[in-house]
Symmetry: C2
Subunit: 591 residues, 2 copies
Amino acid sequence: MADYRVPREDMQFVLQDVFKVEQDWAQFAELSELDMDTAVAIIDEGAKLAETLIAPNARAADEEGVKFENGTVTTPKGYKENFKQLAEGGWVGVTANPEFGGMGLPKSISAQYEEMLCAADISFSLYSGLTAGAIMTIDQHADDNLKATYLEKMISGQWTGSMCLTEPHAGTDLGIIRSKAEPNEDGSFAITGTKIFITGGEHDLVDNIVHLVLAKLPDAPAGSKGISLFLVPKFLVQQDGSLGERNGVHCGSIEHKMGIHASATCVLNFDGAKGWLVGEPHRGLPAMFTMMNYERLGVGIQGLGAAARSYQNALDYAQDRLQGRGAKATSEMEKEADPLIVHGDVRRMLLTMKAFVEGGRGFSTYVGQQLDIAKYAQDPQQKARAEALVQLLTPVAKAFLTDTGFEVTVIGQQVFGGHGFIREWGQEQLVRDARIAQIYEGTNGIQALDLLGRKIAGSRGELLQPLLQDIQDLLDQPLAGLEVEFKQLAEATELLRTITGEVLNRVGDDENIINSVAVEYLYLVGYVAFAYIWLRMAVVADPLVAERPYLASKVKTAKFYMARILPRIHGLVGAIRDGSESLYRHEVGEF
Amino acid sequence: MADYRVPREDMQFVLQDVFKVEQDWAQFAELSELDMDTAVAIIDEGAKLAETLIAPNARAADEEGVKFENGTVTTPKGYKENFKQLAEGGWVGVTANPEFGGMGLPKSISAQYEEMLCAADISFSLYSGLTAGAIMTIDQHADDNLKATYLEKMISGQWTGSMCLTEPHAGTDLGIIRSKAEPNEDGSFAITGTKIFITGGEHDLVDNIVHLVLAKLPDAPAGSKGISLFLVPKFLVQQDGSLGERNGVHCGSIEHKMGIHASATCVLNFDGAKGWLVGEPHRGLPAMFTMMNYERLGVGIQGLGAAARSYQNALDYAQDRLQGRGAKATSEMEKEADPLIVHGDVRRMLLTMKAFVEGGRGFSTYVGQQLDIAKYAQDPQQKARAEALVQLLTPVAKAFLTDTGFEVTVIGQQVFGGHGFIREWGQEQLVRDARIAQIYEGTNGIQALDLLGRKIAGSRGELLQPLLQDIQDLLDQPLAGLEVEFKQLAEATELLRTITGEVLNRVGDDENIINSVAVEYLYLVGYVAFAYIWLRMAVVADPLVAERPYLASKVKTAKFYMARILPRIHGLVGAIRDGSESLYRHEVGEF
């Protein structure tokens, strides 16, 4: 696999010029000491880790995979040392509460760090990624005692965390989980049950693992309103903070998977394991969901990271590999063939990748910025507006970034021809690793249902308004030379508005409509949102080209996106308008 | 992985009722003794092999993979025995010349056999598949002596074949190959060079391997018009037909790949290996291409087979797995959840799979029928028309069946949620195995270039006419109850006609247009062709439902296809109309 180079310039362009995050930071008490120079320095530190330690190890780690023997999991060579470096750099707690040692950085910066970590090695990124999710959940919902006992060790990366939701019979449908929590006399609970697909549920990177486990109390109401959340450490922690006896949670096996071979995906058996309630009884799901907005963007960024890496590799290859002649004579006539990049279809593939990668970087930063405003803003109106955008965009970020991320990695493999199918080039690993991000943390179908059902229909379309308003603000100040593209954005936005209205009008008459058109609707929102991001980036880039030549492509790529990718929305409209009709003609036996 | 069940009923429906192939056979001297009962019996024999021997071994064979040690390749457990069974059943020579022991069956039947073989195990299918291609090439282009020496042994499956085209620096661009062929005194040639990605180039299934090798004679003109074809056996064959000394061709290594782990993908080193010219000097590429129409449909069917298997698994899973509640109360209220199949989005996924699988089966049989007419018909007009359809549809069959096949396997993985990512369920293997079919035997981008460049633009659109005429014949006899769908087909066909005209009008002014819009154009043709196939199947199925209840879904699935899949064409039009403009704004350094 080729060396990975973090796109530092593009990350800075997005943060500084497009979204002007520094202006936000200056407003927010907790971020007022942060400036762009510091942010750039931080990104550069992360980039060094990603480029020199993590990325070079990813191919070998995939080949070696994780090993399971006698209840213990061994991670690939280099993982333990690299995790130690990551922890010592403070990266496990990059967005975590400074009170417990976290860096307390905004998500807009963390989004860049996460992208580079995932581009370097998704498997490796998961050990700290899940820990960050657990940290956030504990910080927001656990009592002071639990916080004092666990947070500092987790934020410093001495211990890691896991999120234990899925059971063999219960994936998407957490309401039917069977894990039980029975009160002990000392205020703790005895947790019993089997959890599967637990990322980082067991491994050898650190001494202790803090599991956050969904289980049902004896008096729990049925369904999803009867689920509670518990903290269950692998080793019990003694008064002085040192590790005590082994708790009754053990890894029964690990999964053999299509990708993320170096990530331990565990079956965990809880046999009366000692745990402590986090948050209120029966309120476990909402507690889990407070960190979902952060986590789901993070999973979206996994798709983006893999896509960014694949694009970089494909671009290198298309410039180096000589094959065939372009339609026009080139400067390569003394060589036996032209580089791939002269061919129209190769350019189509590369630009599709570039449009999704750079558009995705802009989009994830846009969502990250809204998360930051929602978290740090004092002004209630500003906060509420950002929260609304986050509500709307979170499922889009998770699903659209991972679906387009997967598409990009598949294209990036295609650019390599037969070599893309061979392991040594690394392009196929990116496909295999990116694939899981469309599935876990709520399948992309579930994200679509969340978007159209809970968010759009649930608000009677109100939640769409802040996005439409942001788009309108941009449309009000068109850039000369992009008149056609501004018109395309205006028309696409109008189509989104129309389709949204049509679907909402049918919800009362058709109980199946939401789940029947949700995926196509999410794509519609995604393509329009990316169109907005692309034109926003183009408008900002255009006057800067003279001083920063690398921005020359932004307007051109925006034009490409509008001409070649955005028209895909016209392929979605027919399906959405069909509603549930075509999906419910078949009896179950007629499939 | 679940048991595989060959869709015998659907295959018979397609052959007998939709395409009425029996009527063709009766006309053709060489097929006049074949009837549907025999065909059904043959399909049933193949089905037993696929279901009981090959499919059950596929998961283990993927895990074990092929091994390379000291120049020899070991195939997974069971492969040798299963290949022997396949050979003894006459399946290696299923379409081969009866003069040398072939079954001489038409491609329309072979297409069903190939689908089941690929559904059972794509890796396994390749050993006989490449042999069939080599058989055809030798039969059509080699001299009588070579035919007498090699064909019978290959057709009986005692020896296998390989096709040696690619070199490290020359994949798509065969004009720049460097392998040399120098004349020996005895009329043979000494072949020297390195070939890569050679499927079945070395293995332990049989005693001898017959390599067909592209190389350049000393006096060869530059480029693709200077390539000759040679037959190079692994072991030289003595006068009495027994094996003599080892030839100078050796396997240097095998590739480690994303999928088809049980297929040996070899680097072959030719060190003055003894070979014999096949066909005319410098006419090696055309000789290879005579079998390409057959082979490319065969590769398309690999995508179809993987898709068909994935659909079968996903449907079983969606009926068994209980998760969540549907919008309506179901009969499952006493259970803790409803089966997945009640959910709209799961139905969307299943029906998308079904539409591509059954539509693909119809389409591949349609193309197979045209190959048979082109091969067997006496009437020159009938023959020429079929040849034109084959020319047009071959790149569509290869690319569209593999791209939709891959899409289907990815959806089939998604239906399983997290379990789709785990190896033991088999869904992820189908994704990995299907992926290669989009790449080899000419990448799908190259297929698109062939379609739009050589076929459509090369004929000034004439080659499209027979397809348009077949569609018009159908449109002239609409089925009551499908008025909307017939109108959709008519409009889509008109759009195809319009777009084709627009592109042709621009070819003179824009040298890059073909390669810039070819992929989207191929999709446009593919979606319209599948729409035609679906309505054709619906028209035939409708009156038969009473006697064959399993056909009840055909009209419904046709309606689904027209409402939910065909509209994708409207997402392609904008990109095609943009031409090459958006692809050539970027300088090479601006990507």
